[in-house]
Structures are given as structure tokens and as C-alpha cells.
């Protein structure tokens, strides 16, 4: 049946999505200074000259830090570093911000961390990648720490034991894949594997930050990452923690905050920033993946595709994420042992979780035809009880089946 009008659309009925027409350069002048020739177009409509673009980009980064005040002078900040453009830009923003001689200089102390997690590559490729990273970070003169994901997971996330500051001590083993399988079910689907590994990495970052005396962690997610993560998390039943997972700041840990200072940037901006500053970027070997292999890849593909024709897509989704909050009533709830977020309230209202449990329950009870249908139902209900006191939140409960408990 036609579903127009179902939503009681009063204001927005005529908000059709019109694909944005291809960019047309009107007057060959930078939008900002109205003087120089533009060299870049952003969001299909804004043209900037090189000088305005570079200063605007740097300013955007500083403005984020200034607005949210997560970091105070002399604080130590753990910077999660990966290959690709965003991390390179981040290092450059930090270094140039620290080197300023004006009062506007940045006054905190970045410490960089590299999490070695490329178990699908050969040891040689992994060592080479780590070496590229080492060389790159060395040029920016930041201290660099390394940690092997597999090593850490094997040792039950005892980060302090696995964190090293010398690349020669970084453990890269040919058996890492098998070792990981001892903790994570090798037959788990890709969606679950990716979700679990993401949670592990977050835990590592928080523990490493504590160990190194950092109160804040910077992670390099861009707008597209935030938008696709938001949709992914909604699809995984993580609605309850959205404010933490994709909001401006993840403060589930009482000592360490995770902050995403590149969330309003798009990849083109940073790739161009790096190019104009002649920055060396550590390349990542690309694999074309089947978009249906996981919820994460489907969402990334979806958001990227929609953004191509409708340039407001990503900012709208990111802004929706910004306006979400953690429900006050959850604050004192027990924490999920996996993701460390507060668990859902087990309250009076019927939820999708309970309904799904009931469906499964009812689909696996042997019908006793000696009883009347009504009696059968009553009997099902009696023996059905919502999973009592689970140590996990809803979404992690589903993941827990893929964790091998030793």
C-alpha cells in the first residue's frame, strides 16, 4: 500500500532529494578571498584557492579543539595512527600547531600509537608497513609506541605487557591468525569479526592511554566513517550507545576520553591538504571487497554512493549523531563486559530484543497436542524468561557466541 503520509509529514512533504547538478565555475574566483584562482572544489559547490584552502583546513581543525576543550595545556594525548591520508594530516596539524610561536600554538603533548593488526598480510608486508609508519612518525618528532593486536588479545588484553616503544620488539608472527582463532571463532561472520576487533582496539587504546598517562585519545575517523558507523551500529542493535560510539566524544571510561577531531572533514580535503603540503602518505594495499560481505562494507558503500549525488548526506547523518545522548537512567547500570558501555534497562516495556527471544523460544518448543492451543501458549510463556542477568549488552550478547571462552 502507498506509504505516503504515514509519517504525518507536515513541514517536509515537498523535500524531494534532487541530485546536485555538476559543478559550474561561475567567475573563476575563490569563494573566500574573491581574488585568487581556485584550485579545489569541495562538496560540489565551494571553490577555494590554495592559500584559503590550506588556512581554512588548519583553522577547522583548531576550531574543533577550541570549541570542545577536551585537552588542556601539558596534557598528554594518545594519537591513534594508521596508514592513509587522515592520519598523515592529523600528524601535520599537530606538529604545525605545536611549532607555532604565536599564542595560538597547541600546548599539549601528543604520543603516537600504532596497532599492528594486519593478520591477512605476510609477515614481510606487515614489517614493511610498520617500518613505513616508524619512518613517517619519526619525521614529525613524536614518540611512537607499538602494540600487536594478536599478542594483546592472546594475553587477555594486558596492554601494559604488550606495549613497546621499539619496533624491533613488535611481535609479528606467522601464527597470528591461528592464535586469534583461539579467542575468536574462525567461522564467525565478517560483520561480527569486524565488530569484535573494533571493540578490542578501542579497549587497547584506552588501556594504553592510561598506561602512558594520557587523558584523551584522538582517533582519525572522517565524516564518512562516522556516518557509516552510525548506520552500522543501528543495524547491529547498538542504538543505546550511539552517542558514545559516533558522537563527538566517547566518555564511557571515567579516566580516558576518545575524541574524533577529523569528523567534519572529507577525504578529498585531507588528500589535497597532504598533496599541497608535499606530505608523504603511507599507502594501504587495496582489496576490492564484496559489499555484501559485512554490514560495515555495505554501509560504507551505501553512504559513499549516496554522497556522490547528494552532498549533504554525510553531514546530515553526522549531525544526527551529534544530537544523540546517553540516557540518564542508564548511568548506574552494570557495564557490558565486552564493550564497557552501560547495559540496557530491563524494564517494563516490550522491546525488540525480548520479542525476538520469544520468537526463537516459540519456534523451538515441542508442541504438546494433548493440551489445548491456549494451554500450550500459557506453558510456553511460563517457561520463557528473558535472559536473566547477562554480562553483556544486547548487541554484544549476540557477539558473545563468537568468543571462544577458554
Amino acid at each position: 500500500m502507498c506509504s505516503v503520509g504515514d509519517d504525518n509529514l507536515e513541514e517536509k512533504t515537498s523535500k524531494y532529494m534532487e541530485p546536485v547538478p555538476k559543478f559550474k565555475l561561475d567567475d573563476n574566483k575563490c569563494n573566500k578571498c574573491r581574488a585568487s584562482t581556485p584550485c579545489i572544489v569541495l562538496r560540489g559547490k565551494d571553490a577555494y584557492c590554495q592559500a584559503c584552502f590550506l588556512s581554512g583546513t588548519t583553522h577547522k581543525f583548531k576550531a574543533f579543539l577550541g570549541k570542545h576543550r577536551f585537552v588542556y595545556p601539558n596534557d598528554k594525548v594518545l594519537v591513534y595512527h594508521t596508514e592513509g591520508h587522515p592520519s598523515t594530516s592529523l600528524l601535520h596539524f599537530l606538529r604545525s600547531g605545536l611549532d607555532l610561536s604565536t599564542p595560538k600554538k597547541l600546548r599539549f603533548e601528543p604520543i603516537v600509537i600504532y596497532i599492528e593488526d594486519k593478520i591477512d598480510l605476510s609477515s614481510e608486508e606487515r614489517s614493511d608497513a610498520a617500518e613505513f609508519i616508524r619512518k613517517q612518525v619519526e619525521e614529525y618528532k613524536f614518540p611512537l609506541h607499538y602494540i600487536s593486536l594478536c599478542d594483546c588479545v592472546k594475553k587477555n588484553n594486558k596492554v601494559a605487557e604488550c606495549l613497546v616503544d621499539d619496533i624491533s620488539k613488535l611481535s609479528i608472527g606467522d601464527n597470528d591468525k591461528e592464535n586469534l582463532n583461539q579467542v575468536l571463532n574462525s567461522k564467525a561472520n565478517t560483520t561480527n569479526k569486524r565488530d569484535i576487533l573494533k571493540i578490542y582496539k578501542k579497549t587497547i587504546l584506552i588501556e594504553a592511554a592510561k598506561h602512558l598517562g594520557c587523558k584523551v585519545v584522538f582517533t582519525p575517523e572522517l565524516g564518512i566513517d562516522i556516518a557509516s558507523q552510525l548506520l552500522t551500529n543501528v543495524s547491529l542493535g547498538r542504538g543505546i550507545h550511539l552517542a558514545l560510539d559516533v558522537g563527538i566524544c566517547d566518555n564511557r571510561d571515567e579516566d580516558v576520553k576518545i575524541v574524533r577531531p577529523l569528523r567534519h572533514f572529507e577525504i578529498k580535503e585531507l588528500a589535497m591538504y597532504n598533496h599541497f603540503n608535499r606530505l608523504e602518505v603511507v599507502a594501504k594495499k587495496e582489496k576490492l571487497e564484496n559489499i555484501y560481505s559485512s554490514v560495515q562494507s555495505l554501509m560504507k558503500n551505501f553512504v559513499g554512493g549516496l554522497q556522490n549525488n547528494f552532498p549533504a548526506t554525510i553531514t546530515t547523518i553526522v549531525r544526527t549523531g551529534d544530537k544523540l545522548a546517553m540516557e540518564k537512567s542508564l548511568e548506574d547500570n552494570p557495564r557490558c563486559v565486552l564493550c564497557r558501555g552501560p547495559q540496557e534497562n530491563r524494564n517494563e516495556e516490550l522491546t525488540s530484543a525480548e520479542s525476538t527471544s520469544f520468537s526463537h523460544w516459540v519456534s523451538t518448543r515441542s508442541p504438546q497436542y494433548s493440551m489445548t492451543p491456549v494451554e500450550r501458549y500459557e506453558k510456553s510463556l511460563e517457561s520463557f524468561s528473558v535472559a536473566g542477568d547477562s554480562p553483556y549488552c544486547f548487541a554484544c550478547e549476540r557477539l558473545s557466541h563468537d568468543l571462544v571462552v577458554s
Binding site: 565555475l25 584550485c39 591520508h85 589535497m272 602518505v281
Partner: protein, 100 residues
């Protein structure tokens, strides 16, 4: 009529598809009519690309996610694939793949 000499550069990992050479000076063979960027892209696929064309080309252009600069300016400022090449132009291809 001699060929068209231009410089091609790669960044962000795009070089991995082209034998890891970050910079190449090429002379495009003489032909009827002009060399557009679209012509260049397809010429590169046939002559320089070492692996996996699907990571470089999509439909009649470069794959979304590959930025193209003409003499250090965004190709979106000059009609993208329709831009007509001139001698000594520098074309840069930057891959913007990044992990998630």
C-alpha cells in the same frame, strides 16, 4: 606532428597499480584530434597499468575515490574527463582509500 609530452604523478597508494613508480614522464603518441583526460585514462590503462583495472577505471572515468589534479588544480574546476591536455601538463592521480 610529434607526440604530447606530459608528466604523470601518483599518490596515496595509486602508484601501487602502476609498478610503484610515483612519477612518469610520458609522450603521448600523435593522433587525430585532441587528447582529453578521458583519452589519457584509457591510454594509461592500456599502456601503464600493471594490475586490476577495476581499481583505476569505472565506466568512462576514474573510479570514485581517485582524485585528479591538473597542474595542481582540482579537475572538477575544468570539466573533468573533457579537459583537453596541453604540452607539459602535470596530471596527478591520488588514491583516497583509507581504512575503516
Amino acid at each position: 606532428m610529434s607526440g604530447l609530452n606530459i608528466t604523470i604523478e601518483f599518490g596515496g597508494g595509486a602508484e601501487l597499480l602502476f609498478g610503484n613508480k610515483k612519477k612518469q614522464e610520458v609522450i603521448l603518441p600523435a593522433k587525430e584530434g585532441e587528447w582529453t583526460l578521458k583519452d589519457l585514462i584509457f591510454w594509461m590503462k592500456d599502456n601503464l597499468l600493471q594490475e586490476r583495472p577495476e581499481l583505476f577505471i569505472q565506466d568512462d572515468s576514474v573510479r570514485p575515490g581517485i582524485l585528479v589534479l591538473v597542474n595542481d588544480a582540482d579537475w572538477e574546476l575544468m570539466d573533468t574527463v573533457k579537459y583537453v591536455l596541453e604540452a607539459k601538463d602535470k596530471i596527478v592521480f591520488i588514491s583516497t582509500l583509507h581504512g575503516g
